[in-house]
């Protein structure tokens, strides 16, 4: 018998009892559908995290004052005074080599902001023009901070759309209005375009003032919280990171890198940590879903054993007219494999449908990958093979005489 004939015979056998076949396949269908859906949700959330992180600005090296801190959490504005404007100048010199598209020294601290009758405690960020480039901010009305405003310590502020709503109400035009930052009057000169919250920080709830204004006028401090550098190409990030490290060590007259009074964090590292966390989570969920595949496989084995017993006479007849052991083994093994593969295909289709349903109706981001589809189909074939071999072997071993006599 050719493979095609084996498959045709198997299908005929399965269609002979549609209810039983359908119920048996259900285990595989549910298992595969869950694996596909969970992997899609996991991949979708990884993609959306990447998207959010890029929204905040891509290819960023964040130089922070103070020694190495572990974890993702940035500490508040430290009192470390290790980063200065001289460092910024040195980096800007280095930037002439063309590897860098933006240098953004930053300072931030929380304080009271009053606008009209609204009073709120919010983070104020001292920024230079490059801040917008580096952090991917666009302006929707008004303009961003200029270099002149920075040097002249102008009392101007650019606010985010959520801050505008909080301070001035919905549908307001804050440009030209006054706000009091730490009791000092500032004029709003611009509102940024909404970027969407990624969960950890809301980039739309910000107030930016010129850097030197923030340092000298508002808070009376000289230090910088950080210098954020945007690298032109992702491939050169490690190179630039190393270059800047040596540059600052030299500038700060430190010979032992372990004693550096600053840290440089690579946004790619943050992204990869986040990605690996979600990826572990996803794998775990998919692993749990796979347990149902195991259960489905056991169901297949159970039904195939019953089927072999029921068809004992048929096996006896086939052997009597000349079927050898392998022919009987192949017949029942193929039946099991066809059943699981069909179940797998239906499961993949169902997984697709559920994923798109979640995307449409629950606003969850999903991404079905072809790898997971191929993997699932392969696994369903394997399940049929593993759980079908035992019943098929039992069928092949039957003695024709006993099989023919079976009632």
């Amino acid at each position: 018998m050719t493979l095609l004939e084996l498959i045709q015979t198997a299908l005929a056998g399965l269609l002979a009892n549609k209810t039983r076949t359908g119920l048996t396949m259900l285990g595989i269908v549910i298992g595969i559908a869950s694996v596909i859906t969970l992997l899609a949700i996991g991949q979708g959330s990884q993609d959306s995290i990447k998207q959010s992180v890029s929204n905040l600005g891509s290819n960023l090296l964040t130089i922070s004052a103070g020694s190495q801190r572990t974890g993702l959490v940035q500490g508040g504005a430290g009192t470390a005074t290790s980063l200065t404007l001289a460092d910024v100048t040195a980096i800007q010199d280095y930037a002439k080599s063309g590897n860098i598209t933006g240098v953004s020294p930053e300072f931030s601290r929380n304080t009271q902001v009053v606008a009209g009758s609204n009073n709120t405690n919010v983070s104020i960020t001292g920024a230079v023009p490059d801040y917008a480039t580096v952090h991917n901010y666009q302006i929707q009305s008004g303009s961003f901070i200029t270099s002149d405003q920075n040097t002249s310590r102008a009392k101007v502020a650019v606010i985010g759309p959520d801050t505008a709503t909080n301070l001035f109400g919905e549908n307001s035009s804050p440009v030209g209005q006054e706000i009091k930052i730490n009791k000092i009057v500032f004029k709003v000169i611009g509102v940024t375009v909404a970027k969407g919250s990624s969960g950890f920080q809301n980039p739309d709830d910000v107030i930016m003032v010129p850097l030197i204004t923030a340092q000298k006028t508002v808070f009376g401090q000289d230090n910088l919280r950080s210098i954020v550098v945007q690298v032109k190409n992702a491939e050169t990030m490690t190179q630039v990171q190393d270059d800047l490290t040596s540059l600052l060590l030299t500038k700060h007259k430190i010979t032992d890198p372990a004693k550096a009074d600053f840290t440089i964090r690579n946004s790619a590292d943050t992204l990869s940590t986040l990605s690996s966390v979600t990826s572990i989570f996803t794998t775990l969920l998919a692993g749990i879903a796979s347990i149902s595949l195991l259960v489905g496989g056991i169901g297949i084995m159970n039904i195939m054993i019953v089927t072999v017993t029921e068809r004992t006479r048929e096996i006896g007849l086939r052997k009597a007219v000349g079927a050898q052991n392998n022919a009987i083994l192949s017949q029942f093994l193929v039946e099991a494999i066809v059943m699981t593969t069909l179940g797998g295909i239906i499961g993949v289709t169902l997984g697709f449908a559920i994923s798109f349903g979640l995307q449409t109706f629950a606003n969850l981001s999903v991404s079905v990958s072809w790898t997971s589809v191929l993997l699932s189909t392969g696994v369903s074939v394997l399940v049929g093979l593993i759980f079908g071999i035992y019943p098929a072997m039992q069928a092949a071993k039957l003695s024709p005489i006993d099989a023919l006599k079976y009632e």
Binding site: M1, E5, A12, A16, R313, E314, L317, R318, K319, A320, V321, G322, A323, Q324, N325, N326, A327, S399, P400, I401, L404
Partner: protein
């Protein structure tokens, strides 16, 4: 040289410590073209004889020579090949695969013989014509009568052009009229040169064969040509 030779065949069944000798030494020669009935009461060993003649089992001792081949000690897979090419079976009941068409039942031995699909259909159609059932080719096995089932089984038994047709109580489940129709077909095949061995416990069925062997308690009692042979018209 006879077509079939059983030479001093014994068969002993062992279940644990309990031994049962079903055949105590049987010797039979059957030539090509014969029509032989093997008759005996239940427990006489006629089923065991059928199993050995049909290459479904090996004798415990003695030899079975079929169409020049000594099949006495062959392993199961080789016996299957022998059955496929040398033996055409007609059983008492459950002859056909359930929920399967008549045609797909008749091609079964051809499938296991590795014959190409197109050739299979041609050969099967011819065999169905020989038993007068080609118009029922696409009927399912559960849509035809008991007598028709037996005739389909006979058609199937012919397709590989076997040395012998071995029929085990082929009319056991049929009424008298249908039984005679079936036996008539066996006689027709015998006239065309086929060797037929028919196992039965009914004397009136055995009467339609040209030679009658009686078995009792695992030994052959008589082995004689049938003086009262009656051909069915």
């Amino acid at each position: 040289m006879p077509l079939l030779q059983l030479i001093n065949v014994t068969k002993t069944y062992k279940t644990g410590v309990f031994e049962y000798q079903a055949l105590k030494g049987i010797s039979v020669d059957i030539d090509a073209g014969e029509m032989v009935a093997i008759i005996g009461p239940s427990g006489s060993g006629k089923s065991t004889t059928m199993h050995i003649l049909g290459a479904l089992d090996n004798p415990t001792s003695g030899k079975y020579i079929l169409n020049g081949q000594d099949v006495s000690k062959m392993p199961e897979n080789e016996l299957a090949k022998v059955r496929n090419s040398e033996i055409g079976f007609v059983f008492q009941a459950f002859n056909l695969l359930p929920r399967t068409t008549v045609l797909n039942n008749v091609v079964l031995p051809l499938m296991y013989a590795g014959v190409k699909p197109r050739d299979r259909i041609e050969i099967a159609t011819k065999a169905l014509k020989a038993v007068g059932l080609e118009d029922k080719m696409y009927n399912k096995s559960n849509q035809i009568s008991g007598g028709q089932i037996q005739r389909v089984a006979i058609a199937r038994s012919l397709v590989n052009n076997p040395s012998i047709i071995l029929a085990d109580e082929p009319t056991g489940n049929l009424d008298t009229k249908t039984s005679l129709e079936v036996i008539k077909i066996f006689q027709e095949m015998n006239n065309q040169g086929k060797t037929i061995v028919l196992i039965t416990h009914e004397a009136d069925i055995a009467a339609h064969c040209k030679r009658i062997i009686t078995i009792k308690d695992g030994m052959i009692l008589t082995d004689e040509p049938n003086k009262n042979f009656s051909k069915i018209d």
